[in-house]
């Protein structure tokens, strides 16, 4: 028999949530497809829009920041550099943005049907991953086009970097999704924070510039060890072959990434607990 009580036990609670989600994995897939299908339904260009947005962003940064503000000096293949960072950053930002709104956006379902509520933030993660995949393909095509394909052993950096983004994105997404139910301000706060995050990670400028400005010390460490910065650096190491000779990276990038993964898993565990504690009242708060 399945029981519902006003309290839940920590370890068995996590296990039950996982089992619940596993049982609903097929539906998770359908929800992701629903999100993707519904997003550009009835628009003439359809999925092309997923490409147009990041490409426009790329063009703006390339021209304004790269050319006008001459940030491209010292950064070879500046377009590839930006697009690598943007691809990593927009995965994170889409996960956070999507999952924060996911519970409130699916209020109709949550109030009427019992489902493990984690599936809604997870579905946002899924559709963000899909868009990430498309951007990644463009990135790889672009590197092939300029004749510098990322066929080095450094490519392996992409794996821990992706994991960092996914784990932190899901963890924070779960927390914010639940918090947004109780306080709708979160949604708008997140938009602002994500904007700050774009400029607080080495997407349109280089890590070297931060190092020159802040010098070696606590400030640089703080900057470097934010998960998004680490992941962006990891992606650049993997896909931005043009900079492999000249670009500066922090020491022990791989170790830092692995530690970040560990911290992320602990956070994910903790935030899932908070989520499941809060979810009991979702239906009445929506």
């Amino acid at each position: 028999m399945v029981s519902t009580t006003s309290y839940s036990k920590t370890l068995s609670g996590v296990w039950r949530s996982l089992r619940d989600i596993h049982q609903h994995r097929e539906m998770l897939g359908l929800l992701v497809r629903r999100d993707l299908k519904a997003r550009y339904k009835d628009s003439a260009l359809g999925f092309l829009w997923t490409l147009i947005r990041p490409l426009t962003q790329l063009a703006i940064y390339y021209i304004v920041i790269g050319k006008f503000l001459s940030a491209e000096r010292g950064i070879p293949d500046f377009a590839i550099y930006i697009f690598t960072g943007l691809t990593a950053y927009s995965l994170f930002s889409e996960i956070i943005g999507g999952s924060t709104a996911s519970i409130v956006g699916n209020a109709g379902l949550i109030k009427k049907v019992y489902l493990p509520r984690e599936v809604f933030p997870l579905a946002s993660v899924g559709s963000a991953l899909f868009n990430f995949g498309i951007q990644l393909i463009i990135l790889i095509v672009a590197t092939l086009a300029i004749g510098k394909p990322p066929l080095t052993v450094e490519l392996l950096y992409a794996i821990p970097s992706l994991l960092v983004l996914l784990i932190f994105g899901t963890a924070i997404g779960l927390l914010l999704a639940a918090a947004n139910v109780y306080l709708r301000d979160i949604q708008y706060l997140v938009e602002v924070l994500l904007l700050i995050l774009l400029w607080a990670s080495p997407v349109v400028y280089s890590w070297q510039m931060v190092k020159d400005f802040a010098g070696e010390g606590l400030l640089l460490e703080l900057y470097t060890n934010t998960p998004v910065t680490l992941a962006v650096l990891g992606f650049q190491k993997a896909f931005w072959v043009g900079g492999s000779e000249t670009a500066a990276y922090p020491d022990d990038l791989l170790l830092r990434l692995v530690i970040a993964i560990g911290v992320g898993i602990v956070l994910l565990f903790g935030f899932q607990r908070i989520f499941s504690r809060l979810q009991g009242n979702f239906a009445q708060e929506l």
């Binding site: 519902t4 359908l30 339904k41 049907v113 306080l183 709708r184 009991g280 239906a283 009445q284």
Partner: protein, 399 residues
Amino acid sequence: MTVNPPVVVEARNVSKRFVVRKDNSIKERLVTLGRMGRRHRKEFWALRNVDLSITAGSTIGLIGHNGSGKSTLLKVIGGIIDPTDGEVSRRGRIAALLELGAGFHPDLTGRENVFLNASILGLSKAQTEERLSDILSFAGIGDFIDTQVKFYSSGMYVRLAFAVAVHTDPDLLLVDEVLAVGDEAFQRKCLDKIRSFQQEGRTIILVSHSLGQVTEMCDRAVLLNKGEVVFDGEPAEAVAQFRDILEDRRLADVSDAPEKPVVGGRIDAALAFPVDGVPGDDVPPGSDLCIRIQLSNETEMPDWVCAIQIDNGLGQIVYATTTLRLKVELSPFNGIRTVEYVLRDVHFGTGKYFVNVSLMDRFGVHLHDLPQACSFDVPDFPLAVGTVHAEPEFADLGS
């Protein structure tokens, strides 16, 4: 020998508290932090110490007036909200029909929505494919299945949603007043489907305002009032008690409501009783029903008509007549006047009936109305339901 059927839902001492807050933004929360904040919260108990144990194969009706907690109880049973206190255990697959088409996305086609909704209700893709033709024929929406559901008529939308829900083979079906949708033919189909569920030994928990439906379909009814279980047992008895609660509330409402100023004649009171009885007595089939009406007027009223209308518990008109129809010429009156209708040999079906009285002029302009001026009960008749009473007999004429 019969074995006791297993318990599928067990609620132990379940309570649910809702907190209504008036401050909803960060600013307001901060301003009203601490003790001040308490004043901005209002608590109420939607459910209080509810114990309920439901065995497999039974059909249970939850009844109660608006806000009595029946939908909350259904949601707690369905796991949609967690109880504040107490515990609910359940077994088997649950399909909650709290709102049809809850998972439908307007931009997806009917077919896509069928798969999505079926999977939300717990079917795998393969199972849905297997049942797709059944679902489509039950919904009866033809070629529209490949159209986006936002272009559906509301009837088509609901039919498709219901079709999906009933084809998910739930062990426990929770139904919240969703049967009142669709045209009559479709409603009949829904009720038939629910009956076949009953025959297959599935458990159904039904929230309904249609008391007729409850007495007809359920083998047990739970009456809730202000979050507490007031009665749990025979549907007919539960419905009778519920009508008493409603009547009490109505009387309380009437005495609270401010009186409207009346010009030219008013109805002071009305009584309904069997001719050989007193007010409050049951009106059994075959008796003569007397409706006595007291009128008053401060100025002389030359030309007037007195009308009565009898409604059943659902507010449907069962019987109505006027002195105009009876071709009675009423003499002018001033002061107080008492008139009386006697309805000979009435055959109302089981239930509570309300008498509305109107005072009109010759042209049908209402001078004063007294809705639900009085009421009477018709005793329980085990052989039939409905608003008309008749002695049933049955003969098998062979082939």
